[in-house]
Amino acid sequence: MMNETMNKIIKARKKRRNRYVGITIILAIITIVLCCTMMILGNTIYPVADVIDVLLGETIPGASFAINEIRLPRTVAGLFAGFAFGAGGYIFQTMLRNPLANPNVIGITTGSSAAAVFCIIVLHTSSTVVSLAAVVGGLVTVAIIYGLSKGTSFSIGRLILIGIGIQAMLNAFISYLMLIGKTNDLPNALRWLSGSLNGAELEMTYPLIIAVVIVTPVLIYFAKQLEMLELGEQAATSLGVNTNKTRVILMISAVLIIALATATTGPIAFIAFLAGPIAQRVVGVGFSNILPAGLIGVILVLGGDLIGQFAFETRYPVGVITGIIGAPYLIYLLIRINRKGDI
C-alpha cells in the first residue's frame, strides 16, 4: 500500500518534471529561432551564413553595419529586457499572490520612468546616472506602495489599489516634466515613455545584461522559498522560511532587473503582466516557473517586435503590439476577479 502510494507520487512528479523540462526547452528553442529571425530579417534579408560571418568578425559591406549596429543591439536588448520583465513580473505576481500585483499595474515601471525623465529633463545627468535613478525610482515606488498598504494589517488588495493610484500620480508628473522640458531633451526622455527596441545600442544594454546574469541565479536559489510564500505568511514561516528576508531580496532583485530593462527599452507594455500567467498556463503549477516566465517574456518582446516591424505597412514599436495583446487580458482578469470578489 505504502509502496503503491509512493510510486503514484513519484510518477506524478516525474510526469510534471518532464513536462516542465520539455516545455522550457521548447520555449528556449522558440527564443533562439526568434533571435535568429531578428538577425536575418530587415530592410535587406541576409542569409544565415552572412549573419554568422559578420558576428564572427568578418566585414561584409552593408551587412556588417545592419547586423552589428542595428539588428544585434535590437535583439540583445529585446532578449534581456524580455527576460527581465517576464521573470521580474512573475516574482511579484507569485510573491503577492495576485496577477494584478505586477510592475506594470502597480506603477513600478512608471516609478523608474519618472525618475529617469526627471534626471534627463531637470538635472541633465549622464546616462549612467539616469539608469541608476531608474533603479532607485523603482525601489522607492515599491517602498512607498508597500508602506502605505501596510496600515494596521497588510492587504494585497489595498496594495494594488494604492499602486494604481501612485501610477496615475507618476504619470501626471511625467506629463508635467514633458511640458516644461527643452525640445532637445525630449527625444531622450520619450524613450522612457513607451517601450521600443528602436535605436538600441549595444553599450546601453551592458548594465541590464550584467544584472540579469547576476540576479537570475539569486532568483532560482530563492525559488523554493517563493513556493512556500505562496501558502501565506504564516505557513511559510512555520515551514522555516525567513519571510521578510526572502521578500526583500526577491523584491530588490526583481525591481533591479525590471528597472534596468526599463532603462534599456522603455517600459514595454504588459510583458511583466502577461508572462507569468502564460507560463503557469503552459507549464502548469507545482514547480517555480521563473525560467519559463522569463523565456515567455523574451518571446513576447521579440515576437511583438517582429510583428510591429514587418506585419503592417507602418512600423510600430513593440510596446504598441504588446499593449494591444495585454489590455484585453487585463480587462478579462478584472472581470474575473470582480466575480470572485477578490479585490
Binding site: 505504502m2 506524478a12 504564516q234 515551514l239 507545482g286
Partner: protein, 266 residues
C-alpha cells in the same frame, strides 16, 4: 519517541502597539495533546502564534529545550516545530500531493531534488490522512473536510515532534470535526507527537485533550487535566456562561451543558 521541553517565560505579546498577552508562563507537556480554550478575543490564538514564532513577543521568551526559538535557524526549528495556520492559502491549480510535498521544505537543501525519504514522508502523510486517492486531484475540487486533511497531511510531511494547530476544526461539520480530532489523536498515539491546538468547542476539547490551558483576558487562568479543571465555575469565569458540568456518557470526560434564559433548571 523524542521528548522536548517547551516553555514560555513571562511572555508579553500582541499586535502593533496593542498588548494582548501579559506575563504568560506555561510549560507544554511533551508527547501529549494540549488544548488552549478561552472566549473570543481572549488571546488564545495570539498565545498559539507567539509560541509558534509567528509573532515575536515584546517581552519574555519562548524556549524549546531551553533555547530561545527566536535565536534558532528557521529551517532547523521547522524540523522540530510545525504549525497549521487557521487559514493557509491554496496556490491556484496545485495538486494534493504537491501541496503535501511542500511540507518537506525544511528537510531539503536548495539545489538537491527529492530524496526517497521525502517521497516516503509524503506517502505516509497521505495514507494517514486517507487522502491517497486524491493525490493527483486539484485542491479546489475537494470538500472542506478533505481540504483540512490535506493541510494536516502537509504538516505531517514536515515530520515535526511538536505540532501546533490554530482552530483546525473551524467551518467543519460536526462529523468532520470528530474525524480530524481522531486523526490527530492517531498521530499523537502513533508517533508521540506533541500536539497543541486552539479549539472553540469546549466539550470536544475536554474529550480530546490530555491537558487544558484556559486563557482569559490575556492571562493563563487555569491549567490541568480536563477532569480536574473544567467546572461550572471555570466556564462561568472564562466564558461568562452559566452551565452545569456533567459526565460525558461516551468518554467519561466533563461535559458542559449550557443554561440560557429560557432553559434554567437548578
Amino acid at each position: 519517541m523524542t521528548t522536548h521541553t517547551f516553555e514560555t517565560k513571562h511572555i508579553q505579546s500582541g499586535y502593533d502597539n496593542k498588548t494582548i498577552l501579559n506575563d504568560v508562563n506555561l510549560s507544554i507537556p511533551s508527547n501529549q495533546i494540549s488544548i488552549i480554550i478561552g472566549a473570543n478575543g481572549c488571546g488564545k490564538s495570539t498565545l498559539l502564534k507567539t509560541m509558534a514564532r509567528l509573532i515575536k513577543p515584546t517581552g519574555g521568551d519562548v524556549l524549546l529545550d531551553g533555547k530561545s526559538i527566536h535565536k534558532m535557524a528557521p529551517k532547523q526549528l521547522a524540523k522540530v516545530l510545525g504549525l497549521l495556520p487557521q487559514s493557509p492559502i491554496v496556490p491556484e491549480g496545485i495538486t494534493v500531493a504537491d501541496l503535501v510535498g511542500r511540507g518537506r521544505f525544511p528537510h531539503q537543501s536548495v539545489m538537491k531534488g527529492w530524496t526517497k525519504k521525502d517521497y516516503e514522508a509524503v506517502a505516509e502523510a497521505l495514507e494517514m490522512m486517507n487522502i491517497t486517492e486524491f493525490a493527483d486531484r486539484h485542491i479546489d475540487e475537494l470538500s472542506g473536510g478533505q481540504r483540512q486533511r490535506v493541510w494536516i497531511a502537509m504538516a505531517l510531511a514536515q515530520q515535526t515532534d511538536i505540532l501546533f494547530l490554530d482552530e483546525p476544526t473551524t467551518f467543519l461539520d460536526i462529523t468532520y470535526q470528530v474525524e480530524i480530532l481522531d486523526l490527530l489523536t492517531d498521530l499523537n498515539r502513533k508517533y508521540g507527537t506533541t500536539i497543541v491546538m486552539v479549539l472553540h468547542d469546549i466539550n470536544l476539547s475536554a474529550r480530546y485533550a490530555d491537558y487544558i490551558f484556559a486563557v482569559q483576558k490575556g492571562q493563563l487562568v487555569a491549567e490541568g487535566k480536563p477532569s480536574d479543571i473544567i467546572t461550572s465555575t471555570l466556564v462561568k469565569d472564562i466564558f461568562g456562561l452559566d452551565c452545569a458540568v456533567i459526565n460525558d456518557p461516551i468518554s467519561a470526560t466533563p461535559l458542559v451543558v449550557p443554561k440560557g434564559r429560557y432553559h434554567v433548571k437548578s
